[in-house]
């Protein structure tokens, strides 16, 4: 990205505190969430906005106290104007994610793609900005640090005439107007009276001093990290305190980040709410005229601390409401046991069931997240489908891996999405069954593993990128999603198996405790893992994070040869794919009736099992060999060689061989080749032959309908 370096210190300017005091003092004085700040609180916002719901406009003023976290003199500021991603088809966000690139490049006229219609666009305009009382409005320029797309206006750059002194506080006042876009992704209005207000105010970027994240400790100065709004990746901000005053028509029911501490009617059909949040790095709110509301309280079994759960849900979603509340309660329990008391540190959480079709579902903001429910699905499948629960768990766990441990999601999305996906997989299995956490309906079952593996193992492009690649740089091709959500999730599952749950949990707990309310990098995660595991795991992380390796181990062959008929050529043949079973006894016409089996049992065979490393990742794998007399031998193969031949000379023969027999290594892209039996599972063959025959008969009947 484009990096702007800081400059040397200068004097601190005069403070203009009056607007803060006038607007927010009554509310903030009475409401303090935490006795001591939990975070560094670099960016502290007081915001006063008014929503014109008919015009879909928002206007207001941001009063920002920005604490220079460095010893640098900071001579420029960077801000995100995220709403401008929805300004037109030329923004980087729309170009990357929505409009077909071919259309864009050929300049074809607007197609039926709804993003190309003229209506529903929005944008943000800063009408005035002062920094420490100096008007800098004229200095504002748009910046495109990531892709030089000059049509993108999601970042502004403000050079200052007077630099901000080291460790000083800059008071920044921004007056702005916002045309709220129609909600297509994450934010905006829908159906006139639903407003998902995320990224609704100018937000300062992150100034990273030397030693923070990827800035070398011996760098001469820090640098701004302020990426454009991209299609796939999310956000990165400093922690701070928020006091937000929202004026809007009375009819709206509102949910916000933090706590609503005051609500008053203005007598003109509008009302004003004041919300307060501490130690968060984002603030979102939602307003809907038809929200229904449920409140619940979670109580810690160890500390008796409580968390208020507030659910705002849609009419008709009563069944889903129960699911939302239940999943949130369970998640709060589990995360406390897993990561330590007070792992979810805030006093409340707001769960939002957004309008159907709004595109606002499944998104996380501090202490507020949106879920996803379908009226018909809850009625048809009941508890047979856990979509609502799993989305709730996933978004709740973002409260931890995005909300509290605040990595840079533009650059290392996996530190949030991967850890969150792993968490929802694990929680789901604990709550709803190891094999049934997603689906358990009429004999059809699926676990979270399916969703984690499906897109990754089936993808031909799974090795086209690495987890370490900047997420925003290859999101369009879909690789970013596979790396950030899927491969990283599977990596953590595999790591859990490698180390054992207890050691793995110690890593996660330590990582959480060490990096809560801070901004870790992948190296920080790896360092914690190495330290807590008590061994160097770089070989593991290098292959999976830095490189593009994929893991695939297979049982290539089982060869059973009576000792007096041995021909070594068979073993050479066995190294070829597909997996094969050579059974000289069968070839000799020995039918497998009981008498023959008994005879074979006494016969001495030279049995060879061939294991193969088909992928480029090296990983120790458990192996299993089962003999005809029922004996099972287990071993661990370091997995380094391409092929491992194991030979036995003994009575009886090998009837089954497996690598990773308990499927503990979900990274393995092909589990079908992980085992081989010399005799088929007739029950399954017959069952699905019968079923397949019937399916074919039924299909033919269907074809004959118009006949």
């Amino acid at each position: 990205m484009h990096v702007i370096k800081g400059s040397r210190p200068s004097a601190s300017p005069t403070c203009l505190m009056l607007p803060w005091i006038l607007v927010f003092a009554p509310a903030t004085a009475q409401n303090t969430m935490f006795e001591e700040p939990l975070s560094e609180r670099v960016a502290n916002y007081d915001i006063d906005v008014t929503l014109n719901d008919e015009a879909k406009r928002l206007h207001g003023t941001v009063y920002l106290n920005w604490n220079n976290p460095s010893d640098d003199r900071v001579g420029e500021l960077f801000f995100h104007l995220y709403t401008n991603a929805f300004r037109n088809v030329k923004s980087t966000f729309v170009r990357e994610g929505i409009i077909d690139r071919a259309d864009w490049e050929t300049g074809e006229p607007p197609s039926e793609n709804p993003w190309r219609k003229d209506n529903g666009w929005g944008g943000m305009n800063v009408t005035k900005m002062t920094v420490n009382g100096q008007d800098v409005t004229e200095r504002i320029v748009f910046a495109q640090p990531d892709d030089n797309n000059t049509d993108d206006r999601s970042v502004i750059y403000v050079p200052l005439s007077t630099a901000i002194a080291p460790r000083a506080t800059a008071r920044i006042e921004i007056t702005y107007e916002m045309q709220i876009p129609q909600c297509k992704v994450r934010m905006g209005w829908w159906q006139d009276d639903f407003f998902m207000m995320a990224h609704w105010f100018p937000k300062i970027g992150v100034y990273e001093p030397p030693g923070m994240r990827l800035v070398p400790a011996d760098a001469p100065s820090g640098r701004w990290n302020c990426h454009q709004f991209h299609a796939g990746t999310e956000f990165y901000s400093n922690f701070g305190e928020y006091n937000v005053r929202i004026t809007l028509p009375e009819k709206y029911i509102v949910g916000t980040t933090g706590l609503i501490v005051e609500e008053s009617l203005n007598g003109d059909g509008t009302k004003t709410l004041v919300a307060h949040a501490e130690d968060v790095h984002e603030f979102a709110w939602v307003a809907d005229a038809q929200f229904l509301e449920v409140r619940d309280i979670w109580r810690s079994k160890t500390t008796q601390r409580t968390v208020d759960i507030r659910l705002l849900y849609q009419p008709g979603h009563e069944l889903a409401a129960d699911k939302y509340i239940d999943a949130t309660q369970r998640s709060l329990d589990y995360v406390e046991n897993w990561l330590g008391a007070g792992a979810y540190p805030y006093p409340n959480v707001t769960v939002v069931d957004p309008r159907s079709g709004s595109g606002a579902g499944g998104m996380e903001y501090p202490t507020l997240f949106t879920g996803g429910a379908f009226w018909w699905m809850d009625r048809l499948f009941g508890e047979g489908s856990r979509i609502t629960e799993m989305v709730t768990i996933h978004e709740f766990m973002h409260q931890i891996w995005y909300g509290v441990v605040a990595s840079n999601e533009f650059e290392e999305a996996w530190l949030d999405e991967g850890l969150t996906s792993y968490s929802d997989f694990r929680f789901g299995q604990a709550f709803y069954g190891e094999r049934t956490s997603w689906v358990n309906w009429w004999g059809l079952t699926a676990s979270g593993l399916l969703s984690a593996r499906a897109s990754y193992t089936t993808s031909r492009s799974r090795s086209d990128g690495a987890i370490a690649d900047p997420s925003f740089s290859h999101w369009r091709s879909g690789i970013g999603y596979k790396m950030s959500y899927l491969k990283s999730n599977l990596m953590l599952m595999t790591l859990e198996h490698l180390l054992g749950r207890e050691r793995f949990d110690n890593i996660m707990r330590t990582y959480y405790q060490r990096w809560k309310f801070r901004h870790p990098t992948r190296q920080d995660f790896v360092d914690v893992a190495n330290e807590v595991a008590g061994e160097n795991l770089d070989w593991f992380f290098d292959q999976l994070i830095e490189q593009t390796c994929s893991l695939d181990y297979a049982v290539a062959a089982i060869v059973n040869v009576p000792i007096d008929e041995l021909d070594e050529g068979i073993l050479t043949d066995a190294l070829t794919l597909p997996p094969k079973v050579e059974d000289e006894g069968d070839e000799d016409g020995d039918d497998s009736d009981e008498g023959d089996e008994e005879a074979e049992g006494e016969e001495i065979h030279k049995s060879t099992v061939v294991f193969r490393r088909a992928g480029d990742m090296i990983f120790p794998m458990e192996t299993l060999v089962e003999f005809s007399d029922g004996e099972i031998l287990r071993d661990t193969w370091d997995g380094r060689d391409r092929v491992r031949k194991v030979t036995f000379t003994r009575k009886g023969k090998v009837v089954r061989a497996a690598i990773d027999p308990e499927h503990h290594v979900p990274l393995d892209i092909n589990r079908l080749n992980n085992s081989l039996r010399i005799e088929e599972n007739d029950t399954v063959t017959n069952k699905y032959t019968v079923k397949g025959f019937f399916w074919m008969q039924s299909l033919l009947q269907f074809f004959s309908l118009p006949g």
């Binding site: 193992t457 699905y688 032959t689 118009p706």
Partner: protein, 322 residues
């Protein structure tokens, strides 16, 4: 004739010609058997692995994923073969429908030879009926996509709950299915008129089929939906029972197989019931009685008035003959 009586009459005629049921079943089995062996070979690939344990009592999607990924090409080839086979089966069904309708309209016992003679006689006509029907249904779907669905989508954007949105979508699908069903019914009567009245013009037979339905909308639609209701009830019963059979033991597997074959027989029965009851309704409504179909096409002598029916009862149908 009331719809209920037509259904009863139709049922008794199927009993009379129950050997058709057997023939149709055997043809179905024969076609399905073509793909069973490659399907079994495919299944046996997973049966050689430990993943097969996940399919003994249920169907575990996690395990199926690996199977699917490894054998995607085989699945696609099987799917393509099934579609091709389905197309052939459709042609065979069109061929057989001539024999079915002619047999059900006939008072005498059917022989294999006569059945296939009639099947051959009406094949090209029924093929043309199929083409006309495909055009009508294609037009229906196109009209829905062009005018109805955009309207439904615009209404869905106005409603504020997904329940209402679901009702709009379900309503749209329901109406399309309903209209398509009625189109199928109209063309059933077109086929019946083609056989009973020895029509050669498919176009006019189709129009006459439509006219027949329009003149007796209550009876024809009631009869159609009585048959459809029976089919749905049979399907529901099957699903309820099938869900309780895990097929993890040989006796259970045999029970499953028998249940499935009974269901297939039931579906074929219902196909015959549609035709049989509609033939009965048509013959009664038109006040005609059909003598055994001759080996060569015959003019209007083949249709004679039922005793006691006024001469004018069929006088409005002169053009329907020949």
């Amino acid at each position: 004739m009331l719809s209920w009586k037509a259904l009863k009459t139709g049922t008794s005629r199927i009993w009379l010609h129950k050997r058709i049921l057997v023939w149709l079943y055997l043809i179905n089995v024969l076609f399905a058997a073509v793909l069973v062996l490659p399907f079994r070979n495919l299944v046996s690939e997973i049966s050689k692995t430990d993943l097969s344990d996940d399919f003994v009592t249920g169907f575990h999607l996690d395990a199926f994923l690996d199977f699917w990924v490894e054998y995607m090409d085989s699945f696609q080839a099987l799917g393509l073969a099934a579609v091709v086979l389905g197309g052939l089966y459709l042609l065979v069904s069109i061929l057989l429908t001539g024999g079915i309708v002619a047999t059900l309209a006939d008072a005498s016992r059917v022989t294999l030879r006569r059945f296939f003679t009639n099947a051959g006689r009406y094949f090209w006509r029924f093929l043309r009926v199929f083409v006309v029907m495909a055009i009508v249904i294609g037009g229906l779907l196109a009209a829905n996509a062009q005018w109805v669905k955009p309207y439904v989508d615009s209404q869905k954007e106005l409603v504020t709950t997904d329940r209402e949105s679901f009702y709009w979508s379900a309503g749209n699908v329901g109406v399309v299915l309903l209209v398509a069903s009625l189109v199928l019914m109209v063309f059933d009567y077109a086929k019946i008129r083609t056989v009973v009245e020895r029509r050669r013009s498919v176009f006019f037979a189709s129009l006459r089929g439509l006219a027949f339905v329009l003149r007796r909308p209550v009876r024809t639609v009631t009869l159609f939906f009585m048959n459809l209701g029976l089919l749905c009830a049979m399907f529901a019963v099957y699903l309820l029972i099938e869900n309780r059979i895990t097929a993890s033991t040989l006796p259970m597997l045999i029970a499953l197989f028998l249940l499935q074959q009974v269901f297939i027989l039931g579906r074929i029965w219902m196909k015959l019931s549609f035709f049989s009851s509609q033939v009965a309704l048509f013959q009664d409504a038109m006040a005609v009685e059909v003598v055994p179909v001759p080996q060569t096409p015959a003019p209007e002598e083949s249709i004679r008035r039922r005793p006691g029916v006024a001469a004018g009862a069929v006088s409005h149908q002169p053009s329907a003959i020949g």
